[in-house]
Subunit: 253 residues, 2 copies
């Protein structure tokens, strides 16, 4: 059974830990975190540590730490015949400074501790420093999902950027819509069906084909009314996205 040490206690680290703890094919033997309190809830199940010198011997070390901690943290990992992985979308495999085989296990997904994760069918982007490591990494990642893509560091950076658009920015638009509703005392709930439909449409139409609304049909009257109803930052967002939609559909400004 493959022995794993996980480093980190963020959302992804938390969900990978939970998944591996319930696994019959992966043996999670230790979790490391700089601040031990964040992983103390694990102490009756497995070994925990905040001391890099006390890391156990394992087959795979999985770093679930912030992007800018990857280089420094990995530089302390001296495991010549073992595999050290990071899990970051935006970070090159070359940022791993461990004395070891290297790889990347990236889930283009949004994780929150409070929201359960269904790993089944989740895409996984893999990269490894050698064919041998890739074999180990593939086998390990099947613990999580069979939906595996081989993606190099440059491509992964692109996926991460696109994910910022479809997740972080989309969620921020939901936030603004909720603010608009709250301020005017109409229930945000009423928008849930259109939110779902916007996604469902992608099954049958490309985003280009699915576009509707006042910006696309250049409905200046509605656009001008809307602009009077927004806070200054919302107005900037409205104006820019309207301009971008207009340009996409040929209404050059």
């Amino acid at each position: 059974m493959v022995k794993v040490v996980l480093l980190g206690a963020g959302s992804l680290g938390y969900h990978l830990t939970q998944k591996m703890l319930s696994s019959s094919s992966v043996d999670l033997i230790q979790v490391y975190n700089r601040t031990i309190e964040k992983i103390s809830y694990l102490s009756d199940k497995i070994a925990i540590t905040d001391n890099l010198n006390k890391l156990k011997q394992a087959d795979i070390y999985v770093l679930c730490v912030s992007d800018n901690a990857i280089s420094e943290l990995s530089s302390h990992l001296n495991f010549p015949s073992k595999l050290v992985l990071h899990t970051s979308g935006g970070t090159s495999i070359n940022n791993l400074k461990s004395n070891s085989a290297k790889g990347v296990l990236y889930f283009p997904q949004t994780f929150s501790k409070d929201k359960k994760v269904n790993f089944n069918e989740l895409p996984i982007c893999l990269e490894a420093s050698s064919n041998e490591s890739l074999t180990v990494l593939k086998k390990f990642s099947k613990e999580f999902s069979n939906n595996i893509y081989l993606i190099n560091s440059e491509q992964r950076k692109v996926i991460h950027l696109a994910a910022v658009f479809v997740n972080n920015f989309v969620n921020h638009l939901y936030f603004n819509a909720e603010q608009i509703c709250n301020k005017n005392k109409v229930p945000f709930e009423i928008l849930k069906p259109i939110i779902k439909e916007t996604v469902k449409k992608l099954k049958e139409l490309s985003p280009y084909e699915a576009q509707t609304g006042p910006a696309k049909r250049n409905d200046t009257e509605t656009i001008n009314t809307h602009k009077t109803m927004l806070s200054s930052l919302q107005l900037e967002i409205y104006t820019l996205l309207t301009k971008s939609i207009k340009e996409t559909y040929g209404e050059k400004l």
Copy 2:
């Protein structure tokens, strides 16, 4: 059985026509459109016309026309004891200039002709010029869904604006993400799970709680890398939404 004439041949008009044609409680007796060719596919099923003087006597006239056509078109409708409805989110009930009872039947939803609509459970926003009309309108709208809200013109305008954020603008972000993927030859498909998860999260978390990503955690290095990878309009969008997320979470610029 309530007799209905529908005016218009856009996406909403199309789907309402289909729904009423299959109904056992509503009798769609005629469809009007300025350009007869767009409704000629209906000619073997019901009466069609492009002549406002030839509109039949009905109980309800449903305008599914562009916002700026509502006033002019409705001014030709002289049906004192009947109900004339528009279906626009951003238009006041007072824009109806018919000699008739008046009402609004608004679906906060995105409609495309190529995408089938499930009206069940779809929210419907109703407004009417009198209690009597509201009773007629309520009964009629139950043909489509039981999820009914009484919403005045000011509130409806707000819902329409918020829908622009969660549908039109969100879809445009999908479009940009797809462009980014295509340009760099990675499959947009890989993002579908995160797109779905972004919506699913709203069941359990508010958009404020659900926010993740480099802007929220002020990860300047990733943000700066992303900025080098975008077209000029995408860069504007990235910069503005990043600023807005930062301000939301307390990082004043």
